[in-house]
Amino acid sequence: MTEAEVDDRIRALIEPFNKKGVEIAEGTTFANDLEFDSLTVMDFVAEIEDEFDVIISMNQQAEIETYGQLVSAVHKLQDS
């Protein structure tokens, strides 16, 4: 899967979590811009893990702050 395809799929997954309709860009942050709390993070991560059949450990989650970082991390994970 190309990074653009990963982007498309994650963009669709994020929709129901993006309650305020924030515009999603590379640099959009989950904590500040999207205001995800720990529960939302857990549900959102679970959706992505199921969609791409990957594991995003808490250690990896801690390194991911922006939307762009997430797309590139998932792209790398599902390639490996």
């Binding site: 199921d50 059949d53 594991i55 808490m58 250690n59």
Partner: protein, 411 residues
């Protein structure tokens, strides 16, 4: 904590400024005139179920003292004798000068209680989880754990630097999916709790342990909130659900049913004893005082024969659960599953008001709030004791009714 009331200008570079928001929340709460839920002082303890708190005689319904062993005469005698014979403390690590006869006897009592080959006593329950988890699961290994796991479990994971993979609370399918995705050949540890202390609900260990084994994972179960009264011999939820033989490590504590302080791990693993040399939270701290291990050993031996107390504890839990349900409170579980009954509050403000209302009625419960709670809930957590009389439980229900109506949590 009086200094919090005086705001001071924060100098740049103050490492404590990261707590400003929390300080603000706390000040706002206290400014409304509420007694500080986190600064309660017990001036006198009258029994396992009664104390003088902030000058008032108070029924204790939030102490995890499930079996009421804190004032058991045999337990107290054993402690006094050890204090006189062996002194106030060991001043040393278990692997140097800190292993006394009493520590060995305490580990013997645990091995017999659990019918297991090995037992290792730590200075606290927190250190037992911290030590065992961080030592057995290291960099490159995977830990699959319930998202609602206790802080000591998370801290053990972080200290060992394993990959941490949480799954939705008590969700068997979510757990299996994550186990399935772990790379071939990686070390796997599944960490579960018998009873989850926030809502008092029990884990489906039978199914979960079987799945963990199917994927070749080792299993650690924290039975802190079940020892002494769940399972035929009081060994916990894994005994009750018939999977104790498939569990690799059981973690427990002396600070709940046993009635003192300390933690432990029991296991049948043939190499378990090496833990004593490689587990840092075991090695680099002083061992428990002789009086504490003597009280623990005596208490553990008595817990084995506590069938009547167990039965009464369950009666108390069922009565409180039913009574609170009838009054219209929302509880953490629809059926009583343990000795914890969690009352869900609509928000922190009313939770704190209700907590204070109960305290003024003469009742102590735990106020649990985010981030320690699941789903950001505010809870009034009640833990029952085998020494609560039936009359005390009725009195407690009356207090909940009055305080609940005054605060507007029930109609």
């Amino acid at each position: 904590m009086n200094d919090i009331a005086t705001p001071v200008a924060t100098p740049s570079g103050d490492l404590l400024s990261k707590f400003d928001q929390l300080i603000q929340t706390r000040e706002t709460l206290l400014a409304s005139g509420i007694e500080d839920p986190f600064s309660l002082v017990m001036e006198k303890v009258l029994s396992p179920t009664k104390a003088i708190c902030n000058g008032r005689e108070t029924i204790l319904l939030g102490t995890y003292n499930y079996m009421g062993m804190t004032f058991d005469p045999d337990v107290l005698d054993a402690g006094k004798q050890a204090l006189a014979d062996f002194g106030a403390g060991t001043t040393g690590s278990r692997v140097l000068n800190g292993t006394y006869q009493g520590h060995k006897e305490c580990e013997d009592a645990l091995r017999e209680f659990y019918d297991m080959d090995h037992a290792m006593v730590f200075s606290t329950g927190y250190q037992a989880n911290l030590g065992i988890i961080s030592t057995i699961a290291g960099k490159g290994d995977y830990i699959v754990l319930d998202i609602d796991s206790h802080a000591s479990i998370y801290d053990g994971c972080a200290m060992g630097r394993a990959e941490v993979v949480p799954f939705k609370h008590n969700d068997i399918e979510a757990m299996e999916k994550r186990l399935r995705r772990i790379p071939e050949g990686a070390g796997k540890l599944v960490v579960l709790e018998g009873v989850y202390s926030m809502l008092g609900d029990v884990a489906p260990l039978k199914e979960m342990v079987a799945i963990a084994k199917k994927y070749g994972a080792m299993v650690l179960v924290d039975e802190a909130h079940s020892m002494g009264f769940i399972g035929e011999n009081g060994r916990g939820v894994c005994e009750e659900q018939g999977v104790i033989d498939d569990v690799d490590f059981i973690i427990g504590t002396f600070s709940k049913s046993v009635g003192t302080v300390g933690g432990f791990c029991v296991s049948n693993h043939p190499k378990f004893d090496i833990m004593r040399l490689v587990c840092r939270p075991y090695v680099f701290t002083a061992s428990l005082p002789p009086s504490v291990v003597a009280t623990a050993a005596t208490s553990i031996r008595k817990l084995r024969h506590g069938a009547n107390k167990r039965a009464h504890l369950w009666e108390n839990s069922k009565r409180l659960h039913q009574g609170l349900t009838d009054l219209g409170f929302q509880l953490g579980t629809s059926e009583p599953q343990s000795a914890i009954v969690a009352v869900i509050m609509p928000d922190l403000e009313r939770g704190a008001m209700m907590w204070e209302g109960l305290l003024k009625e003469g009742l102590y419960v735990n106020l649990a709030r985010p981030p320690a709670t699941p789903a950001n809930m505010t809870l009034l957590r009640c833990s029952l004791c085998a020494e609560h009389s039936a009359e005390e439980v009725e009195a407690v229900l009356g207090m909940f009714e009055r305080a609940g109506k005054a605060v507007g949590v029930i109609d």
